[in-house]
Symmetry: C2
Subunit: 326 residues, 2 copies
DNA sequence: GTGAAAGCGCTAACAC
DNA sequence: GTGTTAGCGCTTTCAC
């Protein structure tokens, strides 16, 4: 491992001088700079960022906690977070919480131990207290972590309303919402609220079906099948696109024509869905804007831990009309 | 930031003793241990892993370089790598190379600067020399990085052969392969070889269509459309599942019935495809085994930088029969 | 069984 | 414009 003193020795200067050259700091003669650069080249020198950060400098490491990048939505979001952070000189430590309390706790500890500059979290199985005691800049995506942690999300309420309106306008009368388990305080529950309020305004009864987000696809399909049989809806708002795909598949097995017998609206509108299932009517979250905002806020907090931020930031969603609605 | 000396002070012992307790090292009285643990609890102490690694200890950091986790295949693979590595006490620095030479180079530099213990790479745009001079344990997935870097991949040749046989057995006579750009030395090119050899054995002519893997989906769809019009194949082997989806879609637009007029076989067989497109006949790569093996080999290299490893490790693939073949 | 002191690779006063 | 020195938080000889 080649170190700063090796460079100094080769260039015939002190360690300080090399450090100054690396950090472009203080006043240096061009001649010295050249000598040092040459030595760095020759030795293929890379400053040890561990040693550097030990002085209390930033580590330029950001912890990114999401359920799993195997889910296309999180895959796309994490991918965008990574590229934007890279562009700003930060590196990502990837933490897939897998909805596992112990793992999430261990990751939080680990991120502290690794002195990350901040955390972006879109998963939570832990109590608020545990997030508060972390004492690091944190910004959350779509989750209520604590009162002091800002939440970025798409405008879930409007999204739910838009989806429901689309179904109503297309003539659906018996509209079911299929969602994950709705936690009372969770931002995503607002999709349900938007749905319910819109239906009520049209004098229709909300019908709620909840299937845990992490249920295996085949089990989920079974439950969806039963839902279609039991409820015989003519419109379903699925709060994620993958469930919508499953539902369409089950509907076809039951001989239901889409959108004639049954209309479907999804939620998320990832690139994957837009590219490979353009037929699906869905609510598109502005993933890129979400990534950009999450990072923007986090970097503000990193720069100034006490900067005042809003408790909530809601980004506008968009209805994408496909062929699963009329 | 609470540090080791704070714990020492509170416990009324020396820093050395605390260090010994943390590392469970040397001989300590139970009484001392208890005192120290209590102090650690009370202060919610987390050893600073930067300081620790500065002594030359492992950082327990692994760099993971892939094109992008927004691609479901890489998303699933990275997700598995992450969970297996976590279970072994390692953390993942996520590097999405985005098929960008400069970014990949910068990432390599950065990983060195951050003193990662090793690298798993499934992307390459750089010359072999650059990978060789990294001087860190590296294991590659599906790419020829250098002679000294072991490659893990699925059995691409057999995969190509299996896919082609499936089409042949189902009666296809004009079988096209649709792949990315085939680099002469790349392991994935063996899918083409398996295809070509199988066709030749049946006295049929290989017909090759190459579309760069990173082409945007809509452009790719256009090219596929043209391919179907120009060649009028009755069987296509797509070397990735997403392209197969696109092809099926374009075929339907052209009024081609599947599998009657046209049969299709994909490649990858991710969980996503199995769950949401079980109709697709495809070659399944053993993603979990790939992840496990990559990690196993890497950890061997980390433990002993000079351990002898094979140049190639090929994991068996499996044909999954769907309804896109007869 | 425990502590003092040196040092990991680097940066930052403070000198000159 | 450049060097000397101390120190970041931790581990590790070497003592006792």
């Amino acid at each position: 491992m080649v170190k700063l003193t090796d460079v100094a020795k080769l260039a015939g200067v002190s360690a300080t001088t090399v450090s100054r050259v690396i950090n472009n700091y203080g006043s240096l003669s061009q001649h010295t700079k050249d000598k040092v650069f040459a030595a760095m080249q020759e030795l293929n020198y890379q400053p040890n960022s561990l040693a550097r950060s030990l002085q209390g400098k930033e580590t330029k490491l950001i912890g990114v906690i999401f359920p799993s990048v195997s889910n296309p939505f999180f895959g796309e979001l994490v991918s965008l977070l990574e590229s934007h952070l890279f562009a700003k000189g930060y590196k990502v430590i990837l933490c897939n919480s897998a909805e596992n309390k112990e793992k999430e706790r261990a990751y939080l500890q680990m991120l502290i131990a690794n002195q990350v500059d901040g955390i972006i979290a879109g998963a939570h199985n832990l109590g608020i207290a545990e997030y508060e005691r972390v004492g690091l800049p944190i910004i959350s995506f779509d989750r209520a972590l604590s009162n002091t942690i800002p939440i970025v999300s798409s405008d879930n309420y409007t999204g739910g309303a838009l989806a429901t309106e689309a179904l109503l306008k297309a003539g659906a009368k018996k509209i079911v919402i299929l969602s994950g388990i709705n936690q009372p305080n969770s931002p995503t529950t607002e999709r349900l609220n938007g749905y319910a309020d819109t239906l009520k305004a049209a004098d229709l009864q909300p019908i709620t079906a909840e299937i845990d987000f992490h249920t295996a696809a085949n089990i989920k399909a079974l439950k969806i099948h039963q839902l279609l049989v039991d409820q015989k809806p003519d419109g379903v708002f699925c709060t994620d696109d993958l469930s919508a795909l499953l539902l369409i598949n089950e509907a076809q097995k039951l001989g239901l024509a889409i959108p004639t017998d049954l209309q479907v609206v999804g939620y998320d509108g990832t690139k994957l869905i837009q590219d490979y299932h353009p037929e699906l009517t869905t609510i598109m979250q502005p993933i890129d804007d979400i990534a950009t905002l999450l990072i923007d806020l986090l970097l503000q907090r990193i720069k100034d831990h006490h900067v005042a931020l809003q408790p909530r930031y809601q980004l506008p969603v968009k209805l994408i009309n496909g062929q699963t609605t009329r």
